[in-house]
């Protein structure tokens, strides 16, 4: 017997494929990145005719899938929560126009946050856009919800959001081998039909569509009152307190109740928007206090019309930021339940042991660029050349870790390195600040949303250096291809690939150089040349493309030319290399006396030779000869 273990992302992917999704698009972003790879895996395994692509950004992904839904096919688009911001323009519009084939939008939220710039709640964006939401609590439930989401979308001709969170995406649990039965509601005629009243609705018609949308939501809320994803547990245990919970928080709360040694009635909500208010009110009427537990923000709580007896994130009974971890959940429930006189178990955590661990100040292992990472070489050369005074706008990707090296001074969102550099140039001019501005952005992020900013900077005469850190892949999220790669999402050959240098030139940039950051001397010379271009009378934006593949993605160049190194006996433990270069394979001895190479981590890139200005890191061969 072999039951398959599925991650939440795989369960969502399998659900989409087995429910007849025909077009699936995505832009990678933690925690959603494995959904599209899963779709391609199950498409092959179940032999389905399905088109899947890594799109260039989330707005593009959304619209490509939307066109399929307007054609009458089932379609889906996946992204991380901040990706939905990028796709929010079509989301709001599509809520009005509606769809024909079932259309599921999957934004993965990141309470914590673990890998994101915000803790935003996609359910609240859905509420603003007026799009119904399914909120799964386990991988198996997410898989099951897909079929119902498609049917709802087709019956009401409305996009539907399925909103997982990090802990669900990266949870692993057993899943039935047999595919869930494919639901009814197959599209009537999968062929695009012109329909000006919807697909090209003018503002006057948009008002009508808005009215219709409001009516749909009233009807959907009534249906959600009977949804199987909303149910009560511990029904027979009365008392003064009831709990309403959704998503992963529902199971975390159940576990906490077991630890607390109490049983409290809980209403589990799987359809947080539009909220089936009658269901909530009927449940709440039985209790003096109702605690709402949800992540990452207050979506259910906000929609409860009468919140007199409601406790949650809005009134401070539940912390209004951060993940509801088992410890937070235990503490919230312990306080609330003992507050109404219930006997609860003490926390299982031993405070003295936790304090003793804390007191040791153990070295926290922060994320660092990998050994051999070409970004490190580029950052190091840049930082050595322009020093701590220059302003370094950065961007979103592995290279955000350049902040460890003080080579990233700002990051806002995808593509903002270029716009921030543009803005700093103008602001600095006004305040008389002459510091150099050097922006860094990765290849995938540049293609995602760097091109309009670059055009803007060129056209308005901004002057700064832009380093495009081209490691030939979307590294942070697991090596998804970009339009500059010669293959597609399913590994097949791309009909065409896009040239980043040509794109940069086409944006009107006159100084464009492609160079290998491993060649640190040449690289530094080009950095200076580029900076000179930003200062020249007829100069402007200067773009350097630091061209070197990610070592995890393609290690062949190093295998072909390995450069093993040793640290000589003269090393005095000055820490320059461990701080300015910060390679995980350079390890300071516990007594601080010297640095050693950790050969289990070292990949023989030889780049750290330049990181010891005293010359104590040398090629292995040279040391043997010397």
């Amino acid at each position: 017997m072999s039951t398959q273990l599925l991650t939440g992302n795989d369960a969502i992917a399998l659900g989409l494929v087995e429910q007849g999704c025909r077009v699936a698009t995505a832009y990678p972003g933690t925690p959603s990145s494995e959904i599209l790879a899963g779709i391609i895996k199950y498409k092959k395994a179940l032999d389905k005719d399905l088109y899947a692509e890594w799109s260039v950004n989330e707005k593009v992904a959304f619209e490509v899938a939307l066109a399929a839904a307007w054609t009458g096919l089932r379609a889906a688009v996946a992204m991380k929560q901040v990706g939905l911001n990028v796709a929010s323009d079509p989301l709001f519009s599509a809520a009005y126009t509606g769809v024909k084939g079932g259309f599921i939008v999957i934004p993965a939220d990141d309470p914590g946050p673990h890998s994101s710039q915000t803790e935003q709640d996609s359910r609240l964006l859905a509420l603003t856009a007026k799009v119904p939401v399914f909120d799964p609590s386990t991988p198996a439930e997410a898989r099951e919800m897909i079929g119902d989401a498609f049917v709802l979308s087709e019956r009401f001709k409305i996009p539907v959001i399925l909103r997982p969170t990090t802990r669900l995406c990266h949870a692993v649990s057993p899943s039935a081998d047999a595919p869930a039965s494919s639901s009814d509601g197959k599209p009537v005629s999968p062929k695009f039909q012109k329909d000006p009243a919807h697909w090209t609705a003018t503002p006057k018609l948009r008002y009508k569509l808005h009215t219709e949308l409001n009516q749909k939501l009233i009807e959907i809320a009534a249906e959600f009152a009977n949804s199987k994803y909303n149910y009560i547990v511990n029904e027979d245990h009365g008392g003064e307190v009831g709990i309403i919970a959704s998503g992963v928080a529902f199971h975390t709360a159940r576990q906490a109740l077991l630890e607390l040694g109490v049983r409290v009635p809980m209403l589990k909500i799987g359809t947080p928007y539009p909220l089936p208010v009658n269901l909530i009110e009927a449940f709440s009427a039985r209790f003096a206090t109702v605690i709402v537990l949800e992540e990452p923000d207050a979506c259910i709580e906000l929609q409860i019309p009468n919140r007199q007896r409601v406790r949650g994130r809005l009134d401070g009974s539940v912390p209004n930021s951060g993940e509801l971890t088992p410890e937070v959940m235990f503490s919230v429930l312990s306080k609330s339940l003992s507050g109404v006189g219930m006997q609860v178990n003490p926390s299982p955590e031993d405070a003295d042991l936790s304090a003793a661990i804390k007191k040791l100040s153990l070295p926290a292992r922060r994320p660092r660029l990998c050994p051999g990472c070409s970004h490190r070489s580029a950052f190091y050369a840049m930082k050595q050349n322009f020093g701590p005074r220059a302003i370094y706008p950065g961007d979103i990707g592995c290279y955000t870790l350049g902040t460890n090296l003080r080579a990233v001074d700002t990051f806002v969102d995808m593509g903002a390195s270029i716009t921030m550099a543009n803005g700093f140039f103008q602001a600095n001019r006004l305040v008389g600040d002459d510091r150099a501005v050097i922006a860094t952005i990765g290849d995938s992020t540049f293609l995602h949303s760097g091109i309009p900013p670059l055009i803007n900077a060129v056209h308005t005469g901004a002057r700064f250096v832009l380093l495009i850190l081209d490691n030939h892949t979307t590294a942070m999220t697991g090596f998804q291809p970009t339009p500059a790669n010669d293959y597609l999402a399913d590994g097949s050959e791309a009909p065409r690939k896009v040239s980043i240098p040509d794109l940069v030139r086409a944006c009107g940039v006159e100084y464009v150089k492609v160079t290998d950051p491993y060649e640190q001397e040449d690289f530094t010379a080009i950095l200076n040349e580029a900076q000179a271009h930003t200062q020249a009378a007829d100069g402007g934006v200067a773009v350097i493309i630091a061209d070197r593949p990610c070592v995890l993605y393609d290690n062949d160049p190093i295998l072909e030319h390995p450069l093993p190194v040793v640290v000589t006996d003269e090393c005095d433990g000055c820490r320059f290399c461990t701080e300015a270069f910060e390679c995980p394979a350079l390890v300071l001895r516990a007594d601080g006396s010297r640095v050693d190479i950790d050969y289990k981590l070292c990949i023989d890139c030889g780049q750290c030779i330049d990181a010891c200005y005293k010359g104590f890191i040398v090629p292995k061969l040279a040391e043997m000869v010397g």
Partner: protein, 200 residues
């Protein structure tokens, strides 16, 4: 659905990115599933994988909450002494810690471990993996060691079957690593508590 059994086994697995925490977790969880237990795992992905601390939570036969509460884990498996200490407060009273290192934990922690009746077992999994000629299999050596102590109620032959099922080309090396860890673990048990002559 949603059945909560009385005997839930909660395991925290900790290490650093690149040590094979995800695969070790997969080996243990798939074995538990093959034996018919409900399983829930929580993995670490994304930025924290870049050389940072990596931690998996594995629950066999229990609730569907993905994370384990501090103070409630039955077992902590740490592929590194530093990560063992960082995550020690996950372990419940009377729980067990398996550490892939001969380095003792910090002396300030030992009285607490004694007070809480937490047993700590050290094992040089990395050194054994290096001896086998495949340093990257220290995670599997550790699985064999834990199995020798019957730390997870997962029999050796079932772990072997799972390796054949999921390890692909690496199955042979992983089976060797598992056996080496298991044998060394058994030997450690014998050395620690010599059996009476008639039972050897």
């Amino acid at each position: 659905m949603n059945s909560l059994t009385a005997h839930e086994l909660k395991i925290v697995i900790a290490g650093i990115g690149g040590q094979g925490i995800v695969f070790l977790t997969r080996l243990l969880s798939q074995t538990a599933v093959n034996l018919g237990y409900p399983v829930v795992v929580s993995e670490t992905h994304g930025m924290s994988q870049r050389g940072g601390s990596v931690i998996s939570h594995l629950k066999i036969g229990g609730s569907e909450a993905p994370l384990i509460q501090r103070g409630s884990a039955d077992v902590l498996i740490a592929l590194d002494a530093n990560e063992a200490m960082q995550n020690l407060d996950f372990v419940r009273r009377g729980g067990t810690v398996f550490v892939s290192s001969n380095a003792e934990l910090h002396p300030d922690l030992l009285p607490h471990l004694e007070r809480l009746n937490i047993r700590t077992l050290h094992f040089p999994a990395s050194a054994i993996a290096v001896e086998l000629g495949s340093p990257e299999t220290a995670n599997i050596v550790m699985a064999g060691f834990v199995c020798a102590y019957d730390g997870l109620n997962l029999p050796l032959e079932d772990l072997q079957a799972t390796i054949k099922q999921i390890a692909g080309q690496r199955a042979e090396g992983n089976l060797k690593a598992l056996a080496a860890g298991f044998q060394a673990g058994k030997k450690k048990i014998e050395d620690a508590q010599p059996l009476p002559e008639n039972l050897r």
